[in-house]
Amino acid sequence: MTVYAAPGTPDSLVTFKPRYEHWIGGEWVKPVKGQYFENPSPVNGKTFTEVARGTAEDIEVALDAAHKAFPSWGKTSPAERAAVLNRIADVIDANVELLSVAETWENGKPVREPLNEDIPLAADHFRYFAAAIRAQDGDHAELNSDTVAYHFHEPLGVVGQIIPWNFPILMATWKLAPALAAGNTIVLKPAEQTPASILVLIELIGDILPPGVVNIVNGFGVEAGKPLASSPRIRKIAFTGETTTGRLILQYASANIIPSTIELGGKSPNIFFGDVADQKDNFYNKALEGFSLYLFNQGEVCTCPSRALIQKSIYDGFLGDAVERTKKAIQGNPLDTDTQVGAQSSNDQLEKILSYIDIGKQEGAKLALGGSRVDLGGDLTDGFYVEPTIFEGHNSMRLFQEEIFGPVVAVTSFTDYNDAISLANDTLYGLGAGVWSRNGNVAYRAGREIQAGRVWINNYHNYPAGAAFGGYKSSGIGRENNKLALEHYQQTKNLLVSYSEDPLGYF
């Protein structure tokens, strides 16, 4: 319906600057070493801006700013902090299209997704934590008639946050909102694939935050992320990304004896019980969409339902219908609101996906749909596009066990309920899962038996604030999206008070 003008063309809603510095202490600050790196768009493969290439020196400057801002920010009242977060939400709401175009250009996702999901969810996230911090009470225990223990939530201080590229603004929000609500100041290191759209956001909200409360240092992981995560000047490090890096983050945290929460991805099973096909009604229609949701964000989601488990009794019919449904997915210009499947975010992601398609074939998986790179021609010819792909195979194949992070789903069958649970749990990961059944008891029991932090029952890819989100097993530690997250950014102060004038009698 609507095709947004590409950034760099006259009618575009967003104009990227030719160069972005770091955002430190409420202003743009040049990198100490004066280096920049180019930022290409996956939509057309071409560079559209360059961004400051941060190093340990810049991290120190950012930490200085965060430390300077903390005494004041940490002591503002919850009501004042909530007001700041609510103002940020208002600005996001007022700029949905601009921010959506910026994200699409940098990440490659089809613009209808940030318009309808990423950006509105980000605004709501700030509002949720504004509410949560105001409603959070401390606690007390009257130990005896003269002694009271008061428990206060206090902020940790200066915290480090390292985020991925798949939802640049939303992933930043999931980290920033609870940390800010709890009274911490932050040094944020965005992913090097998507360093600019968060800066477009900070330009809009920068003056709402006191200087130094949020600081953004861009750069490569080894040059900027590592100095941040291993710094003795932060009181916590939070991370979302891949497994090995997550282990390294925990390692650095242990060296400094600080807490860390990490979200490391998954291989989420999407389970379709036989009763789903009892009728070919609207619910069946919803289940078919549920299957196709592996295409959401081109499969670049930690909870991508990339393993579909279909009960044998309905396997042929359901898979046949699912293939037909998936064929209808519209792949094209990500700036067109009709487009459903956009570009993968970088060349190396594209290569990785194709290498998995290759190993799948070698392992003996059967290709039911797709399997190749796509050239969309014209301006998009150098973009990173892969066609929607469906494989059938065996749950022990690498195709079924590893995050491909692309528009690829691996399908297998199960005989009965116990087989379904066993297959669902036969994975290193436990971040997400989907259960589809008309029978509430089956759905409930399956949901409780699956070892994953988020089980969607009769829906998928729904991320409302208030629903706790995080991993079991090798998918990580900690929960986001719920008031639980406040406690990940706070420590407990116990004031143990005596109202008695009498000595103990010991000395």
Binding site: F37, E192, G265, V301, N347, L428
Partner: protein, 164 residues
């Protein structure tokens, strides 16, 4: 000074630009360095390096000193090998050493390739070749600033057969 993904050739000093995706899959670069066999009881090498990987690793060695690999699972930049200065990433009894490369010309330059034990259980039927592609990987892998990314290409081990 700018670093770009478009000039991977000059940035890394590689003798030729990495092939396109289609070229690489149609004509996989031959492995030139095979890792030693390190798992007790095994006889076949499990991991190999392409010529491009060897050149890149030699260049990275000059900057960082001895190196190591740990294969990452998980989202984002996972399902890919991470290259760190040797010893930066602490391995444990819960990791498996798949092999040791020697990329040295005149003197030994050994690089260990590690994977978590739980992950190895799902990978053990495949042979891995470490290749290089143009890209912008993240995590803390040391090659990222060069505008390239290590990537695994896999084939079934000679001892394995396709799943039925």
């Amino acid at each position: 000074m700018t670093n770009t993904t478009d000039t991977a050739t000059t940035a890394t000093g590689l003798s030729a630009p990495p092939p396109t995706v289609e070229e690489a899959l149609a004509n996989p670069a031959p492995p030139v360095v095979a890792a030693s066999v390190t798992i007790p009881g095994e006889t076949q090498s499990r991991v190999a390096l392409t010529d491009t990987s060897v050149q890149l690793l030699r260049k990275l060695w000059e900057q960082y000193g001895p190196l190591m690999f740990h294969q990452s699972g998980g989202c984002c930049d996972g399902s890919s090998p991470m290259c760190y200065p040797a010893g930066d990433f602490l391995t444990s009894d819960n990791d498996v050493l798949l092999g040791v490369f020697d990329i040295g010309d005149t003197q030994p330059q050994t690089i260990e390739f590690w994977m978590s034990r739980e992950q190895f259980q799902y990978w053990s039927h495949t042979h891995l070749t470490v290749d290089v592609v143009k890209g912008r990987g993240s995590g803390f892998s040391v090659e990222a600033p060069e505008g390239v990314r290590f990537l695994i290409r896999s084939r079934l081990m000679d001892t394995a057969t396709p799943f039925v």
